[in-house]
Amino acid sequence: MGMTMTQKILAAHAGLDSVEPGQLIEADLDMVLGNDITAPVAIREFEKIGITDVFDKAKIALVPDHFTPNKDIKAAEQSRLLRTFAAEKEIEHYFEVGQMGIEHALLPEKGLVVSGDVVIGADSHTCTYGALGAFSTGIGSTDMAAGMATGRAWFKVPSALRFELTGKPGQWVMGKDIILHIIGLVGVDGALYQSMEFSGSGIAYLSMDDRFSMANMAIEAGAKNGIFPVDDQTLAYVKEHSTKPYRVYEADADAHYEQSYTIDLSTIRPTVSFPHLPDNTRSIDEVGNVRIDQVVIGSCTNGRIEDLRMAAGILKGRKTAKHVRLIVFPATQAIYLQAVREGIAEILVEAGAAFSTPTCGPCLGGHMGILAEGERAVATTNRNFVGRMGHPKSEVYLASPAVAAASAVTGRISDPALLEGKE
């Protein structure tokens, strides 16, 4: 039986000619990632193992991004634990405030992940790097500790769902809309333990930033990973950002998929996930009248330069509605600087946005944009669970940067096409 892309990457990293779904394997790791929430637990577990050194100082990334710049004394203590560990173990890829960014935007940008890699990260959105044709998946702190010690991790080889993307998305449809649509289709556990393998001619119309935001949300369908085939765009990205050797894997023609879905991108409308699950999706035409208090544009899902360009394009010459707080947080320092240089920062601030330093803060209700009881936010983030962004009785509506920017102007969830008065 043929293998999927994911299965091929796992086989190669386990030193096997082939693998089958359900098989337990041990794979070599190309990168192990942790942040200021998960790494402190991992460091404590690592120290219990009783060895001095990590398996490879160049294959560990520590990114204090969640509660940084430190939100309180306890958060500061956790960040210090990372900093001290990174210095003691001479970890090469530690990113201090000022250099850091949201981990899943930062690692590809810094060239630390390339096509064909196997990456684990103690953060569920580690699946983002599937956009590069890598196998990457979220794990917990103990798995991270074990990975730092041994350079290996055990996996159950996943079966797969195939998403054949055809057609060209409309002007206001972004990767975010496509992945929300797909999550709405399969459900929050629709891809549980499986890989989501994207394919088809429609991928050519998706930028790398679109693909990052789609692979990023594979976890919201319960998937182990989401993965894109490697094409010219991928290779151009990898070569621009990295000097690491990469490897291109392709699914076999006779690879087995548990189920295949064909999705015509030209039919997808801007899509919004209503509270309190990402699969509770509605097209923008079915949203109705939802008045909002806050708009958040950013995160590991949608804090990249194209996201900010889209928002600025809509907000240029316009003002945020009086009752709306608009918070924009570029995902990395490089994206921040580019937004300044392109004039995006100026447009957004003139529109009334708070333009923030990179942080995961508001997405998980950590800091920098917490909601009060009964408040509603439109967010380009990835989860709308109960209490995710603040009070347990607050509400988060997930959407693309285009819908978020349009909603900031009108003060209710809005179709960017109607705001622009054109299709």
Partner: protein, 163 residues
């Protein structure tokens, strides 16, 4: 391993944000986390839970964030075993890695109700509902995972193998 306790019952898609909200993740002290366990879903959970109690839920338990603080908080709050129809995969790994027993069993997840008293034999995968006098059979773990559980978690497993 045997466990016996009273049941706390929840529905589908219990996510790690409600098991332990991120606003408390500025610490990784399990006992401190346990003080806020489940509070956004069931404000009385911490007040009512007793050591050895059992949590039963529907599909996709532990979905969302990879925070190991979630199984840590449940364990420190006194939960002896979680039974669900299915578990989200990161939670599944984390629970095994930190030694929080879990069992997947759709029949038990449907049939068991809040406040039932349930007994679990983890090795055999048998779940006995003492209140309803019914027994359910869960899938036993594959040998690879049993090794990790027998070593009392992944870190001990690795320590043993590094020696």
């Amino acid at each position: 391993m045997q466990a016996k306790g009273r049941v706390f019952k929840y529905g589908n898609n219990v996510d790690t944000d409600v098991i332990i909200p991120a606003r408390y993740l500025n610490t990784s002290d399990a006992d401190e986390l346990a003080l806020h366990c489940m509070e956004d879903l069931d404000a009385d959970f911490v007040k009512n839970v007793r050591p050895g109690d059992i949590m039963v839920a529907g599909k996709n338990f532990g979905c969302g964030s990879s925070r190991e603080h979630a199984p840590m908080a449940l364990k420190a709050a006194g939960i002896s075993v979680v039974i669900a129809e299915t578990f989200a995969r990161i939670f599944f790994r984390n629970a095994i890695n930190i030694g929080l027993p879990i069992l997947e069993c759709g029949e038990a997840a449907h049939d068991i109700e809040a406040d039932d008293t349930v007994e679990v034999d983890l090795g055999a995968g048998t779940i006995t509902n003492l209140t309803k006098k019914r027994t359910y059979q869960a899938q036993p773990f594959p040998p690879f995972m049993q090794d990790i559980i027998e070593a009392d978690g992944l870190i001990n497993h690795i320590r043993a193998n590094l020696r």
